[in-house]
Amino acid sequence: MMLLIAGYLTYKKRWKWLWKEWLTSVDPKKIGIMYFIVGGFMLLRGILDALMIWLQQSLAAGASHGYLSSEHFQEIFTAHGNIMVFFVAMAFIFGLINYIVPLQIGARDLASPFMNTLGFWLFVGGVVMVNMFFLFGGQYAATGWLAVAPLSGKEFSPGVGVDYWIWSLQISGIGTTLGAINFIMTILKMRVKGMTLWKMPAFTWGSLCSMLMAATIFPILTMTLFLVFFDRYLGTHFFTTTAGGNAMLYSNLIWMWGHPEVYVLILPAYAIFSEIVAVFSRKPVANYKSNVFGLIGVASLSLVVWLHHFFTMGSSADVNAFFGIMTVFVAIPTTVLVFNWIATMYKGRIRLDTPMLWFLGFAGVFAIGGITGVLLAVPSIDFQLHNSLFLVAHFHSTVIGGVVFGVFAGISYWFPKFTGFRLNERLGRYAFWLWIVGYFMSFVPMFILGLMGASRRLDHYDASTGWQPFFIVSLIGGIVITAGVTMQVVQIIASFIEKKRLMDTTGDPWDARTLEWSVASPAPAYNFAALPDVSERDGFWAMKQTGLQKPTYEDIHMPKNTASGIYLSIYAFLTGFGFVWDIKWLIIVGIVGMIYTFITRTFDEDSEYKIAASDVEKSEQEHFVKMQEVEKSRDQSKIGPEYDMGLSDFIKIVWKWLLGLARHKK
């Protein structure tokens, strides 16, 4: 796949273009799209891992031991967890925040554009590291996605697997901290004139809460990973079984980060739903302030619940009770949000486009995840269900129902803003239903299996348990989900084919309320030709009511592109790689390289360029003329979603194209 892309780029002589326009770009919009691309590929990889797990579990009953060794199976579920959380969910959330937040707050770029590209490339460094063992052999960690101690110590995991795990998370985690700092700065300091905190759009609020949490917890992860690394590399005794090390300390530290981490992912997703429900009900967000307090409430409560991940580890009953009760309390602000969504829909004129469908799917699936979560929060029940498949089904319900559906809703909602044309509705609906059916088929059996006593991470079980039929149904559900993902790939390709008909000429295809829809689709490099003046909450909606004014153009200062982010990330990667394989000179090269690049970058005082007012006006005019031409040339009678091509049309087109290709070759 990668080779094909590389070949195409060489053939078209586009390497230089790719480097100049994309890889070194500091434009948060381009970085956002690069996050989506990397996240998309990692999603496919993560699903492949999931299918391998499902297949093993439905085969390995009784005399059959399936097709994987225990060791290999453990590596796969570890990689599956890491990739899905760090490199899929985080990638999509960061992609959305990058693209949308500056547009929503009326900013032209981020507070520190360099830190943003650095954060992205560190994230890519982590992605490469997690896939490194494909190239260099060795193995991946076989310790579960959080590498429980003391299993992750040198004594019990002597290979390089855990080292890959450490450096993959370390490099991308530092990138996340930088990203979080940057977005806090941007949201708090760069809002357009008139936009007070209480006038910020819901998604910006969700992002702010999420980034504040990320800045709070990722430093703990960084330090914890360093301590594991010291244990393995320098022979210290933080989490070992000997010389006074304390493995429970590790559980506390890692979950102090790990539990809030899932809320870092879910808060923007909640906020995406707030936006979508409002726009597709054609009403403002109901009870705006309680909506915000709901987000803040979830964010703060989730910081004091980490111990519920190890109720069975031997804390006293009082401690367990405290954390159990705090966990149940998280449901309260969440319910506030749910009621706000219902209140927003009440008496609204609801349109059931795909973003709204994903919301409804979320409401159903996430409710199951939430209720089972409250069940698990009761310590006495948790003693029964701890580490069972019930737990696995629970967190998949929240993460698939919440984060994944939220991201899909967000992408289908903002897709016109990213690319300039909307997504194919019909295929989107197919994908939605495949996901929903697949989810229930694969995870309902898992709930049942968990109640029957099946533990998680099981690579073999006795035939007399009678579990195999459930595992097989679950596998089929997984295949249906995979079909759903395939359908989404088809949907995107089909939308590209019909690009012209689906073109968004107005920049506001959904009749939406917030500022990002007031600019052209896709948004120009400088975001706003003239900065908007916001006086009310739904700024763009208010503007549409009073009539849009003719803008006055001014000179715009924009940050220059820079490759320092890439270089820094390469050196960071080399350092990590050096530590994995214990190559001393590489470690030194990496560290010196990082310091040198960082210094030269921070003392570069010439990091901006100017776009003249006349050029801004010219490019705005050009876009306007181009859009008018598109409107004139396309068949106006065939624009609605009901004309979107179905699957059979798509197959016909691809078939014809393949035939043409074959003939051409002859």
């Binding site: 830190m115 708090l188 430093p219 210290t236 933080f238 010389a243 006074g244 005082e605």
Partner: protein, 205 residues
């Protein structure tokens, strides 16, 4: 420092592009310091949990020398003072005094670092390494992390002073000095906690 901050506050109202960006950078650096503080918080928590897990090896009381650490502390505190004097000079755009006071700060930082390395090597020479017990691991890592921060502060300061010597003071450089002095004072505060929690408290029981 307070004067500088209130000035940064006032800049909110000034429309100048450069000043707005200075305001943002200062704010962002504060958030960075908070994340760094959380890393130290994690280390302090680890130290608090593991301080009595000596596994038959010596405890803090046996290996620390309080007068020695007090000298270290006084040197670091003095360096914070000279750092403040340097910042006043930077406000007044007095290049010579900037070089002098920040130079003294750097020197004191280096002396502090040397003393810390000497302390570490003494402990190691007595045959107690971080491999021996959880207490020693957490001691070396907590104090060492602070030392690493001091090292990077010195490096940062050295590079900045070199640039100032060559290119003179402009608002970019003054901003950089302001960030460094924030960083330096921050490390000072962390050291006060290390002095209390790691050293003084080992002599209580």
């Amino acid at each position: 420092m307070v004067a500088w901050l209130s000035e940064a506050q006032k800049m909110n109202h000034v429309e100048s592009h450069e000043e707005a960006s200075t305001d943002r950078v200062m704010f962002g650096f504060w958030i960075y310091l908070m994340t760094d503080l959380l890393m130290f918080a994690a280390l302090f928590a680890v130290f608090a949990v593991l301080r009595n897990n000596t596994a038959g090896e010596p405890s803090g009381k046996d290996i620390f020398s309080l007068p020695f650490v007090l000298i270290e502390t006084l040197i670091l505190l003095t360096s914070s003072f000279t750092c403040g004097l340097g910042m006043i000079a930077a406000r007044n755009k007095d290049k010579a005094k900037v070089m002098l006071w920040f130079g003294v700060t750097m020197l004191l930082g280096l002396i502090f670092l040397t003393l810390e390395i000497k302390e570490f090597s003494t402990i190691l020479h007595e045959g107690h390494s971080w491999r021996d017990s959880a207490f020693l691991s957490s001691f070396f890592v907590l104090v060492g992390t602070h030392g690493l921060h001091i090292t990077s502060g010195i490096l940062w300061l050295a590079v900045t002073l070199r640039y100032i010597a060559r290119q003179g003071l402009n608002h970019h450089k003054i901003r950089k000095l302001a960030l460094i002095s924030l960083f330096w004072h921050f490390l000072d505060i962390v050291w006060i906690f290390i002095f209390t929690v790691v050293y003084l408290m080992s002599f209580i029981n």
